[in-house]
Symmetry: C2
Subunit: 353 residues, 2 copies
Amino acid sequence: MPDVQNESPRAAEPAFLAACNRRAPNRLPVWFMRQAGRSLPEYRALRDGVTMLDSCARPEMVVEITMQPVRRHRVDAAVLYSDIVVPLKAIGVDLDIVPGTGPVIADPVRSAREVARLRPLSVDDVPYVDAACRELVVQLGATPLIGFAGAPFTLASYLVEGGPSRDHARTKALMHDDTQLWHDLLGRLAAITGAFLRVQIDAGARAVQLFDSWVGTLSAADYAEFVQPHSAAVLAAVADLGVPRIHFGVGTGELLALMGEAGADVVGVDWRVPLSEATRRVGPERALQGNLDPALLRARWPVVEAAVRKVVREGQTAPGHVFNLGHGVPPDTDPDVLTRIVELVHSLTPRAG
Amino acid sequence: MPDVQNESPRAAEPAFLAACNRRAPNRLPVWFMRQAGRSLPEYRALRDGVTMLDSCARPEMVVEITMQPVRRHRVDAAVLYSDIVVPLKAIGVDLDIVPGTGPVIADPVRSAREVARLRPLSVDDVPYVDAACRELVVQLGATPLIGFAGAPFTLASYLVEGGPSRDHARTKALMHDDTQLWHDLLGRLAAITGAFLRVQIDAGARAVQLFDSWVGTLSAADYAEFVQPHSAAVLAAVADLGVPRIHFGVGTGELLALMGEAGADVVGVDWRVPLSEATRRVGPERALQGNLDPALLRARWPVVEAAVRKVVREGQTAPGHVFNLGHGVPPDTDPDVLTRIVELVHSLTPRAG
């Protein structure tokens, strides 16, 4: 088992958790969304011949894939290898993840009958997640494990559209046409998601990230009315467990304040909004996570380095900063670039003042 | 020939142009991006068996398709039926528009050799556009024709990626890795685009819209350094012709001020930013265009009506407002909904005060 415990013996609180909690970390913490995945040759080798959903349901595979980027890059946190549709599959939704397409739902959810089928989730529905987390915290030592779930809006979009969508038109039409059904749907998804995060924290996750991948398609008014109460319910469902809650979506410049107010301790920011401006929008009570443009990972190293330094500089305006990309690691990323970014970020730790 | 001249005989300036010029229009003007297209059965019938690029190169077809939504919806402006890759094809770039995919470039442009091949455009390269515009202004009478072109960044993205892209990673890498080549590429595209718009105005277009479809993928800093000077060059290239210049992109909340400062008379806004907030960002010197969420076109009429009224109300904060969607008409739109929106918008014309 490798030593992934990089903290100094005097530092009781890992850097990642300190930054989330707006305390000065002993080094600037960094992890990457989708760090466990296709950018790593060791991941591709392990996944060979195993479907995405199967791999998420095998605890030993989840553990190994989750550990791979921690060993390789020496990031400050692990993130559970999973997929946002895992809890839906676990409560019996007939779905598949089609390579090159994404989640495909056999019977899209568009009426009260289908919504009523979305039953609550318990730990018995996801024993493999529970088992994987318990083994991971042993292997990770002081490196925190981040639990992971898709937010109600993004899950609803997949269920209503039947799969990925460019414009989320059916989802938005349902939201506006049948408000009661919409709130019933999102209420059920919030309960499922809250329970799913709770399973992970109970099994040792020391933080959670609620991903609302597609919520940036909404105006702030629609978000506030139709989505925020349900994301808030998810975040409230784990509030008593005392772990930092990160909340992230893409293209959410107009929503950052509202996403923070939903109850996040850390707001994830994509690359479109400088962290200094995000600090202004989110306020002093929450840390920020982000936000290097993942498309820059293909550029020459001096370009990457300058961009990393800029993000670190802008992040110093926030009351806490966890370095990350502004979205997930692209599959064709050279993993050595990520390792080099981790080293650079650590070297740029602001001095306590 | 139908009478598409809806202006009162006393109104010298069509409502669309008045709003663009920040003068009080005699009615609130409305048109729809991609109004000429797949949402109309008469369009689908006409296009049957004709490829997209072929249809754009046949003046009689361009005229008919451009006229269809004007006749049907009685919108306040026509927009030339074309595609953003038409000028590239016209100067010899080997490309095709693949149904279901979009533009595909045979030899992606990634080196000085390929950039050097992007020669200037003259009216002799696009005689069908010249002819179509000349016939259209005859048929349209007082209804203005809007000329149309893709902006340098979006054209560059297609050329560099070789087709549509989710993350524009190759484009961004080139931009940062080889700044000189990037500026050479965008400079050439700006010259082509400026000339292409000039052809349309010379042939009778009374306004132009510069579409930067994908520019919302950039941070404001990257936009200001790598894109704005070239979009500004396009808009400056037709400044002496005195027609309103509309500039639009999707997901551009962080860029609205900069896009206005590039030299637009009208800034197009997607549905994510309320027009009242867009007015604050863009300032008092430019009109706004937008911004009904096109996904709402699938909702029940009372939902659509409430949303239209909200856009009209928020648009009253702008120094001029052209009603439109926040992006193009989705292909599966019921055209009757669009007609009804036109009637509603016209009925909501603010009283001169």
